[in-house]
Amino acid sequence: MTVAVPSAPRRTLHFSWAIVLVYAALIFGAAIMLYPFVYMISTSLKSAAQVYVFPPRWIPTPIVWANYVTAFGRLGIRPFINSIVFTGAIVLGQGLVTTMGGYAFARLKFPFRNALFVAYLGTLMVPFVVVSIPLFVIIARLGWQDTYQGLILPILANGAFGTFLFRQFFMALPEELADAATVDGAHHLDIFWRIYLPLSKPALVAYGVITALGAWNMYLWPLIVLQSDELKPVTLMIAQFSSSMNAQLNIMMASVAIALLPMFVLYVVGQRFFVEGIAMTGLKG
């Protein structure tokens, strides 16, 4: 079932003051949730002189759209390419590896299956920061510091939870489907690719969206493994801007707005997948 659509039947509240109270609370909540975004947009459109005025004016006069051009000029296209490469590799790689692994655990018999599965489960509770130290040592030994493969592979490998999720999901599919196909001569790749994956589309999309969100927003691992600006994703560049002293506030807020844009668009297009993905994963991490 989906969370996105409230199944609550619209019932008319008998007391109008109750509705007024509900709306008052909803609007108050909305104001708080929107506050930082409004601040960001307002500041990103201010002139340099207006930024440091107290009390702050929320409506910029004049509106300086050029800040966005300046901000994009400073960021350049490179961080976006890096973020897209990183996010794309993680989503596709993890999607493939976790569904295949999930299928193996759900539908195949092989030695040490249960022991291996327990090992997977055992790593679920391990915070990434714990693994980050030995990972860094390993990546340094491989000479992969400051490379795409050093950035991508350890995160791609972070798929124990996805494997677990898809194993559960595939096990819930009726086994007769696979059996029937087997009788017709289909082998496991057929069953996986033509039956199980198509049936899992909603779960796949939800998992993909959450994985994309996590990768696009990831900070700790890129911070640890990357040194040169040419390889840094947007999120890391924003953090770097934020800590540099000479950053102009209006330009910085424009940069943040630009960095948010791709995930915002994804959210507008597929809000329900965000919601389903979170209900499905509890957004671990």
């Binding site: 409230p6 920061v129 130290i133 599919l173 001569g185 943040v256 948010l260």
Partner: protein, 315 residues
């Protein structure tokens, strides 16, 4: 748990029939297929998850800066954390303050908002979209924005508090205010996630229970207190634990962007301290030991959740 996945309906599936291949040998070749399906996954898992986990545990027993050879120190790093390190008390205290300080608001506000969204008034969809909006912001982006909202001389928080006659504060540079300031951001960022978990739970509450309560004359509060609250208790436990774990383990991005642990370690929390010990001071052994202590805390929280769920949850 509240995780319900959209259950797909089995549709008729066309599979190209391959005649003359009996099913029996296929079963025997299962492990070959397993190698094909699980192989890449397992390789990555061993090389970059399980391997590093065990390796890191080993590193926690040595003194090592990655330049000179590692020196075995036994439980020395753990002793240093619990006995010798002057910073331990401060850092642990900050972490507990940060996590537990954020917890009540990070659980109760989403519960309240989820209940409001579940009333089903006109415009609910719009409000829901607004409440979920922090999802699109990375912690880094949110922290960057809030860092300037908190600025002493031109930040908008001081404008807001000024309305109540509170003098301007230097939120992120004040030892007493810095953690509360971080907590506000953490709660703000956490709200959508917990709303979603609560909304899923609220929809599983049978409508008939509310109807029965109304027939018995229960008002809005009584319905919440005697129907909603007990029915969402399992979710509340789940939300409590997952939130406290995320706050304990997370928080790095926020501290890294907003304060770097300043002023005077007043906002230095465990994760940030581990990162700094490893990647600024290059005390890999000591950082690993602290990381494993953090892991132990996470395991403890999980154990508590299991235990509590057995004892207290009303089903």
């Amino acid at each position: 748990m509240a995780s319900t996945v959209a259950a797909p309906l089995p549709e008729p599936v066309k599979v190209t029939a391959r005649l003359g291949r009996p099913a029996a040998p296929l079963r025997r070749r299962d492990w070959l297929w397993a190698l094909f399906f699980l192989g890449p996954n397992l390789l990555l898992f061993l090389a970059f998850t399980l391997g590093p986990m065990l390796y890191g545990f080993g590193v926690s027993f040595v003194d090592w800066n990655m330049l000179q050879p590692a020196r075995f120190v036994g439980i020395g790093n753990y002793v240093q954390f619990f006995v010798a390190d002057q910073l331990t008390g401060r850092v642990v205290g900050n972490s507990v303050y940060y996590a537990l300080g954020a917890l009540p608001a990070a659980v109760l506000i989403p519960l309240g908002l989820a209940v409001l969204l579940n009333v089903g008034v006109r415009g609910t969809g719009l409000f829901r979209s607004i409440y979920f909006l922090p999802l699109v912001a990375s912690v880094v982006a949110a922290s960057t924005i809030f860092k300037w909202i908190y600025a002493k001389d031109f930040g908008t928080i001081n404008q807001l508090t000024g309305l109540f006659g509170i003098p301007r504060q230097d939120w992120l540079f004040d030892e007493k205010l810095v953690i509360p300031a971080l907590i506000v951001v953490a709660v703000w960022h956490r709200i959508p996630l917990n709303i979603i978990l609560y909304l899923a739970a609220l929809q599983n509450v049978p409508r008939t229970l509310y109807e029965a309560a109304r027939i018995d004359g229960a008002g809005a509060w009584a319905q919440f207190r005697y129907v909603t609250w007990p029915m969402v208790t399992p979710t509340t436990f789940f939300v409590l634990i997952i939130t406290v774990i995320n706050l304990t383990v997370g928080g790095f991005d926020q501290v890294s962007v907003m304060t770097q642990g300043n002023p005077l370690n007043a906002s230095n929390i465990m994760v940030f301290n581990i990162w700094r010990t490893a990647f600024v001071y290059f005390q890999m052994g000591y950082a690993s030991a602290m990381a494993y202590i953090l892991f132990a805390v996470v395991l403890l929280f999980t154990a508590v959740q299991w235990w509590l769920q057995r004892r207290w949850v009303h089903y």
